[in-house]
Every structure is written in structure tokens, then in C-alpha cells.
Symmetry: C2
Subunit: 116 residues, 2 copies
Amino acid sequence: MTYAKLSGFTEEQQQLSRLAKVLAHPARVAIVQLLASKTTCISGDIAAELPLSRTTVSQHLQELKALDLIRGDIDGLTVCYCLNTELWAQAQSMFAAFFAQATTTTACGPADPCGC
Amino acid sequence: MTYAKLSGFTEEQQQLSRLAKVLAHPARVAIVQLLASKTTCISGDIAAELPLSRTTVSQHLQELKALDLIRGDIDGLTVCYCLNTELWAQAQSMFAAFFAQATTTTACGPADPCGC
DNA sequence: CAAGAATGTCGTATGTTTACGTCATACTTC
DNA sequence: GAAGTATGACGTAAACATACGACATTCTTG
């Protein structure tokens, strides 16, 4: 009974952590930025611009794909990866809501018993 | 030479992934939300509201503390944990900048060679 | 100062992620 | 259809994350 006690947390918390996990590796951040900056993307090109092997990049792409954050359309011999902008907009608002909570806390003001 | 080839990614990408990693577990998301919602927090109380043992919660708190996202002031026998709102605001703007990129991509429009 | 209470630290078992080489598959082109 | 090319799938080793019980530490209180 070790690891991942997912039940016990709200679906919202799990969803946010899933999204965060995708961004928890610089390679995936870089991949998303690359896809956002280009008008056409091909898997091989992505690996060429990262300090990782093609195999590893493909694995990271799979993780992004698993959450449907990117889409890959096969075009003959190459694959055109692109961002699913609707889902990213959704993720954006989830994070925005979370950060709004975290930055507007009323705790630890001057009237608080603790000294921080 | 496995794992974490951190060099090769920009400092910005590494910073964003570090922040994302902290939120990549529902327990830490829940902890931050708890801290944000209360005006006074004590470590024991936090564990009481989560489906995790006190030890595990303490470990998650350490990870938040390692990035200076929370602060814990010892007040006698108890500890008052609270959010470092300045850092959270900083994190907020980093994520906002990233999502702005991800949601405004011009790729895969109607004029694009790929069909997606 | 002894007893109790609130937390952090350590050790450890288990699950997960990362990274990459090698192989299999699918498409183009001659 | 044979040769070449672009990708994904599989297998595997090492690093890391998660969870928790047991112990140590520190403070209060009588």
C-alpha cells in the first residue's frame, strides 16, 4: 500500500498535479515551447534541438500525448506534432485559479499569532 | 550518465520545471491550498486533514520549504507554516508567460501543410 | 527535573521516471 | 519489390519519489 494514494484528494487537485507533472521536466517544457514557436513541426526536428536522444524525446512526446496536450498527425513518412491549444487554455485557467488562491492568502498578517 | 541532463536547457526552463515538480503531487497541491485557506497553520493539523501519515506530510513540507515556497516559524512546541506569497506571485508570472506562449501558437492553422 | 506532547530525522521498501540502444513498422522512391 | 528513411515500441539500468514506522529532539508543565 505504498505510493500514490490518489483517492483522498479532490479530482481538481489530481488534475492540477497531472498537468504540473507534465511540466515537471525541462525537456517537456522545451518541447512545448518549440511546438509553440514553429508553424510546422516534425518529431525528428524536435530531437535535433534538444540535448537528448531521439528515443527519449519520443518518450516525452508520448507523455504529452497521453494527456492530449499535443496531437500528432501522420503525414506520410513524417509526423506533424502540434499543440492542442484548447486544452492548454484550460490548463492555463486551472493554474490561474490555483495561483490566485496561493497569492491572496490572509495568513501571517500582522494580526496573526505567529511571527512570520 | 542517466537522468537529469539539466545542462542543455535554459535556466528559465529549469526553473519552471522545478516549480511544476512541486505541484506534481496532489498532496502538495492540497497542502498549499490548506495553507492559503487558513490564517494559522500547524504541521500536525495539516496531516490531520490529509490521507497521509504525519511523516509523509512532513516530507512534502520539506520539499516546499526547499524552494522557499513556504516558511515555518517555530513557536514553542508547534510550528507555524505559511506561504511565501512573494515567491508564489513570481511563480504565477512565470507560468502565465509560459501559458501565453502555449496558447497563442500559430501552428496548424488552415494554411499549414499538416492537416491537424 | 520527569513526563508528556509536537515535530523533525533516519532507514527502508516499493513504485516511478528518465535515458538510451536495439528492434520492428510503415512509408517513399527508384 | 528492394533499399533507404522516419518513427514508434520494447527492454533495461540507474536515479528519483513516495510512504511510513521507529527513533531523536525540543519544548512545555507540573
